[in-house]
């Protein structure tokens, strides 16, 4: 079972948030979750500004000890600022079998409108792909998923499932009177899931920071594009959504068919090169 878990993190209060995360992992594991996924920056809160430097964790920090113990039976994926040498990253940390199995640094840092990430963070350069408990797992942190080329690159590395942790402020209006931001995530990941034949799992932080509210949405975009919300539970102001592996249905896409079946990654890469050549000719 997969659990998507979120709550309202306290800004800059990492120890407090980590203890909520530990409680939530135990709770989810007791209910049978093998993989527990938290949103982007759940450890620290999102709008940190200068608090990035004092909130960022080191990979070898003692702060991980509680979660590392819990990870012996449960794979844990959490978002936090990471300090590496003199750089800070907006990262997802994967804890599995008592160790930090993978760290992914967000590649696309939104720095426009209400966002200012590149002011505080360095951009990652390596694709987020790791061998997870449930199979090869891809990672896209929030804005990463707005870049179809990156989403495609992760897909082309052949993950069995793709996780999309996010800190997405609720704003704007869709045609059906929902927040545009929330609608957009469903339509975007639905199209990716349908096009790539891969399940996408989305989880957003909740709460309010300086008057900006996060929706706390969680859903799966099934390989056929259908949006599913799983089994929902709220305890101690923590929201859980549970998905059984049959919900995720990783393999069914192979039998139902879809556009990805005729996909040639070599051809796609060639098309990108053709586009690059055309651009360069235009610029020359």
């Amino acid at each position: 079972m997969i659990a998507l878990v979120r709550f309202a993190p306290k800004l800059g209060a990492c120890a407090k948030n980590l203890s909520t995360i530990e409680w939530a992992v135990k709770n989810a594991a007791e209910k049978g979750a093998e993989l527990v996924v938290f949103p982007e920056m759940i450890v620290s809160g999102y709008q940190l500004e200068n608090l990035v430097s004092e909130s960022a964790l080191l990979k070898n920090s003692a702060d991980w000890s509680g979660l590392l113990k819990l990870s012996s039976h449960t794979e844990i994926v959490i978002g936090c600022p990471i300090r590496q040498n003199s750089n800070f990253y907006n990262s997802m940390v994967v804890l599995r079998e008592g160790r930090i199995a993978h760290v992914y640094h967000k590649m696309y840092l939104p720095t426009y409108g209400m966002f200012d990430e590149a002011r505080y963070f360095s951009a990652g350069e390596k694709l987020g792909i790791y061998d997870g408990k449930l199979g090869a797992t891809g990672l896209l942190i929030c804005e990463d998923a707005w870049h179809p080329a990156l989403a495609y690159a992760v897909h082309a590395a052949k993950p069995d499932l793709i996780l999309v942790p996010s800190a997405s402020p609720a704003r704007g209006l869709s045609v059906d009177d929902k927040h545009h931001s929330a609608r957009m995530w469903q339509s975007r990941l639905s199209i990716y899931a349908e096009s790539f034949g891969t399940a996408f799992f989305y989880v957003n932080i909740s709460g309010s920071e300086d008057g900006v509210r996060y929706g706390g949405e969680a859903f799966m975009a099934a390989p056929g594009g259908e949006i599913r919300f799983g089994q929902s539970l709220i305890e101690n102001e923590v929201q859980f959504s549970f998905f059984s592996l049959t919900d995720a249905d990783f393999s069914s896409s192979a039998t139902t068919g879809g556009p990805w079946q005729n996909e040639s990654h070599a051809k796609n890469l060639d098309l990108i090169l053709q586009a690059k050549n055309i651009r360069e000719q235009k610029n020359a």
Partner: protein, 285 residues
């Protein structure tokens, strides 16, 4: 045949069912994360403070909200009646503290005060009362200024603009009206001409020399939809409204920019407050 302004410069429907829980939740979270549970606000008898009151009641419960009626001797008596009406309607306790003795103590020492100056003094005295009462009650001050007046600068700096959390700050006047109807604000308050009630017979629209309807259409298209001002002026011309209103709005917005910012700081260090030293307001909460 002139075009219809509602067709040429339309305003969107207000998504009340989406925004009421959204704004309520922000108000609740931002107050409660400070460790406080209560709110105070000034209730003028107008639609804006009535809507803020409605949000505060939804967010915190009526028992945790105190409304202050703060008339001056020239205030229209119907304002106080409407203030009491909305407090009774939402079952909120209200207290009346007249600003007359405080204001007159100052006015008696200064001659030649204009109505505008007097109005600003009253607005700032009300701020002093609200901040003092909030301290007394372990409460936060809930704001009552909407986006239209915030952009037009039609408000008193350190007066009615002062608050800890403002549920209306991103809502244009037309959205305030729609949400007020949705939340059951008494119709007497919704239907009367908006007035700061700083002197007898004053109305917002006379002060602004334009209707809120026109101001909202210009601001919504310019600010929210990022349409060029020249295009908006052309559309006004098409429906036989004065295209010069766009420039008038622009001048008001640009001239009042200082009201929407903290004071200018003379920079000398390498880490100046709010320039390099940037921390969220919710730091540690």
């Amino acid at each position: 045949m002139p075009e219809n302004i509602e067709k040429i410069l339309p305003l969107p429907e207000t998504p009340c069912e989406l925004w009421v829980p959204h704004i309520t939740e922000i108000l609740r979270a931002e107050i409660q994360k400070t460790g406080l549970t209560k709110a105070v606000l000034g209730v003028s008898g107008g639609i804006d403070s009535a809507l803020s009151l409605a949000f505060a009641v939804k967010a915190l419960g009526a028992e945790n909200v105190t409304a202050y009626l703060m008339p001056y001797e020239t205030s229209n008596p119907s304002s106080e009646d409407h203030g009491k009406l909305v407090c009774d309607h939402f079952n909120v306790k209200s207290e009346k503290i007249e600003v007359t003795p405080m204001a007159n103590a100052y006015f008696s020492q200064i001659s030649d005060l204009t109505n505008l100056q007097k109005g600003n003094v009253m607005a700032r005295l009300r701020m002093i009362i609200l901040y003092d009462r909030s301290s007394q009650n372990s409460a936060l001050v809930v704001g009552t200024s909407n986006k239209t007046e915030g952009l037009l600068g039609y408000s008193t700096l350190w007066g009615d603009m002062a608050s800890a959390v403002n549920p209306l700050g991103d809502l244009y006047k037309f959205q305030v009206r729609a949400l007020s109807k949705f939340l059951g604000v008494p119709s007497e308050l919704i239907n009367k001409p908006p007035s700061a009630d700083l002197w007898e017979g004053q109305t917002d629209e006379a002060d602004l020399q334009m209707t809120y309807d026109i101001a909202d259409r210009i601001l919504y298209n310019w600010i929210d939809l990022a349409r060029p001002r020249s295009e908006i002026a052309e559309k006004l011309r098409q429906c036989e409204h004065d295209p010069a209103l766009v420039e008038k709005v622009f001048k008001r917005v640009s001239f009042s920019q200082f009201k929407r910012k903290m004071p200018v700081i003379a920079k000398v260090s390498r880490r100046t407050i709010n320039r390099e030293f940037r921390n969220p307001r919710d730091w540690g909460m």
